[in-house]
């Protein structure tokens, strides 16, 4: 049995919004609407889904960058909502984040050396000299040479900036990294370099990743398990190959078949095309929240909220019809 690093229990995050010019009607965005999962040591769990599905909010809830409305996050057995400030700071050594936009996530006034050193200073690690040497090693490890230390972020390309962000994230040798769309802002030829780097570091330092992404090709390459989210809920959950070979939820099936294939001989392949748009997370459809777009909808889907049923081997799907094709 693998050791559990992180447990998420029935996590919810609602954001209040005001509608109408005079703020008359109070509404609630159901960004994350009751999700549970865990991440074991050394594991890459991916959260996938389209914009507004709550995957980034989930990442921020886990790091306690925002407070949950309900539910719990347990990191190494400790409930983050109950630990003291001091303890939280200690725990944060072990949980880091890599952001999507390498242009916005690095302080433009600090040199690259200072950016990577900062977490070491905050957590009072080493002497000045030791930190310098460590920063040097880290930058080398992510494929940047030592002369970059005195330069500023704006002098670097997107791919190099993301490497700087990665160096900062691994500086404290964390146990968990939340990687929020770490390559989606990069050029295609650079994406593969950064994905390779993340994978190498994961194996070298035994880091677990919560990998938040929408590119399903990259997710398949890097993940051990995948959770598919839609409007704040997990629709399907499975070991990576099982999910791609045997998607059980119609939403997962549609997502996978919508990926354009770089092979013209597959031009005529059957695509499960979804109708319509993603509904607003303010007005979540009743019953199964996917029913408004589901090509396999039956009348009962408007009435029952499907539970995340277990289909064996750690494969779960929230669809009342999944039995029919499982």
């Amino acid at each position: 049995m693998q050791e559990t690093l992180l447990t998420v229990q029935d996590l919810k995050k609602y954001f209040p919004v005001e509608e109408g010019i005079f703020g008359g009607r109070k509404r609630v965005v159901h960004a994350v609407d009751g999700i549970s999962f865990d991440i074991t040591k050394n594991e890459v769990l991916s959260l996938v889904g389209e914009s507004g599905c709550g995957k980034s909010t989930t990442g921020r809830l886990i790091l306690k960058l925002i407070e949950p409305t309900e539910g719990k996050v347990l990191f190494m057995g400790e409930d983050l909502s109950r630990v003291s400030r001091k303890r939280l700071k200690e725990l944060r050594r072990d949980m880091q984040i890599i952001f999507q936009d390498p242009y916005a996530s690095l302080n433009p006034r600090l040199t690259v050396g200072e950016i990577v050193e900062e977490p070491l200073i905050v957590h009072k690690i080493g002497t000045r000299q030791e930190r310098r040497e460590e920063v040097f090693r880290l930058l080398q490890r992510v494929g940047l040479n030592s002369e970059v230390m005195r330069r500023y972020p704006h002098e670097f390309s997107g791919g190099q900036r993301q490497r700087i962000g990665v160096a900062r994230a691994i500086a404290l040798k964390p146990k968990l990294i939340v990687a929020d769309e770490p390559v989606s802002a990069l050029d295609v030829s650079i994406q593969a370099q950064v994905v390779n780097l993340l994978k190498e570091l994961q194996e070298e330092y035994h880091i677990s990743y919560l990998f938040i992404a929408h590119d399903l090709n990259i997710v398949r390459h890097i993940s051990d398990r995948v959770a598919v989210m839609y409007l704040g809920k997990i629709m399907e959950f499975a070991p990576v190959e099982d999910l791609y070979k045997r998607p059980l939820h119609p939403y997962t099936q549609a997502l996978l078949s919508s990926i354009p294939v770089p092979d013209p001989s597959q031009k005529g392949r059957k695509v499960l095309l979804l109708e319509g748009d993603i509904p607003s997370p303010i007005y979540i459809p009743v019953g199964c929240r996917f029913h408004t777009r589901c090509p396999k909808m039956i009348p009962r889907c408007k009435e029952v909220i499907p539970p995340l049923d277990d289909f064996g081997g750690g494969h779960g799907a929230a669809c009342i019809r999944a039995q029919e094709w499982a």
Partner: protein
């Protein structure tokens, strides 16, 4: 260009050079680019940021922003020499015979006018339609691009629509005058994958039903493989490979194309393997290398690549490639 069949030709771009004259020097954004688009066909232009694909599109529309300037070359569209037309003449063509769809519909739609107003404006300007007739047409255009409840939507403003719906509105505007050519610059990049599939299907359907040609600019080889008849791969302002889609994907000849295809994680690949990344990064336009622009990143490099720039030559059957090395000799 090979196989010149003038009757089917709609657009031909010949030795186009568009340079930007900045304080840091001259940037050859588009440098000696030639291609043609036949009536009713789809040309895919692929490349990464800064490769010149968008500037190529803007050059065809004669919308290159300063300090950029079309330096030389010819662009023929349906018998017109676009670079010799007056500003008034090109304005008449734009939106009428050639239309453009941009990546971000929110910045290309005017936030203070209704959807109906913006679509009907095109018809009033180009077709001289009266307001009510133009609005009726706008409504049927929205229907045509798959927007539900068009009678209500024409009275709405852009912010009231989702990203996918806005892109449908952009497409409705682009087809309003039934142009012969649409240039779509990363039309689905800002959209979610299930919405992307809808928009691509819509574009493909429209090119067929209206017999329109389409220049589809994308960084996504998957999108290109599904849509295009012919593909041009651009790197650092130049076309490095140009071939019919099936041919290009079946036997890519330029190391950059090969690298791009290899860097996409394939479903069949064993997961433990590293992705085959292209080393290094795209060079800054002000710091382009001598010889072949791709040589610092190329794994097939020979000495000649660092000194001489290869020309775009036909490797057989209209498959053009700009490379000194015959990559077919290597076991890929």
């Amino acid at each position: 260009m090979p196989g010149l069949d003038v009757t089917s030709m709609l657009l031909s771009v010949d030795k186009l050079k568009t340079y930007f004259y900045t304080s840091e020097g001259v940037i050859p954004a588009v440098d000696d680019v030639s291609f043609r688009v036949d009536k009713g066909t789809i040309l895919g232009i692929v490349g990464e940021s800064g490769c010149g694909k968008s500037v190529t599109a803007l050059s065809i529309m004669r919308l290159v922003p300063p300090p950029g300037r079309i330096v030389s070359g010819e662009i023929f569209f349906d018998g017109h020499d676009l670079l010799k037309l007056s500003d008034d003449q090109i304005r008449d063509l734009r939106g009428d015979r050639i239309a453009m769809v941009f990546q971000d519909p929110m910045t290309s739609l005017n936030p203070v006018f209704t959807i109906g107003n913006q679509i009907s404006e095109i018809l009033r300007v180009h077709k001289g339609d009266k307001r009510s007739k133009a609005l009726d047409k706008a409504e049927s255009l929205l229907q045509r691009v798959g927007i539900p409840d068009p009678a209500r939507r024409i009275r709405e403003y852009p912010h009231q629509l989702s990203g996918g719906m806005r892109q449908r509105v952009m497409i409705a505007m682009s087809i309003a005058c039934e142009p012969a050519l649409i240039i779509a610059d990363e039309p689905t990049t800002a959209l979610d994958v299930t919405i992307q599939a809808q928009i691509l299907r819509l574009l493909k359907g429209l090119t067929e039903s209206l017999n329109m040609a389409l220049i589809l600019i994308s960084h996504d080889l998957g999108v290109i493989a599904e849509m295009a008849d012919t593909v041009a791969i651009m790197y650092a302002g130049k076309i490095v490979e140009y071939a019919p889609t099936n041919e290009l994907f079946a036997s890519p000849l330029h190391p950059y194309t090969i690298g791009l295809l290899e860097s996409i994680p394939r479903f069949e690949a064993t997961r433990e393997k590293r992705l085959r990344a292209i080393k290094g990064g795209v060079p800054k336009p002000s710091e382009l290398p001598e010889g072949c622009k791709f040589n610092p990143r190329c794994k097939y490099i020979i000495e000649r690549c660092m000194k001489e720039e290869p020309g775009l030559v036909d490797a057989g059957g209209g498959h053009l490639v700009r490379c000194w090395v015959d990559v077919k000799k290597f076991d890929l």
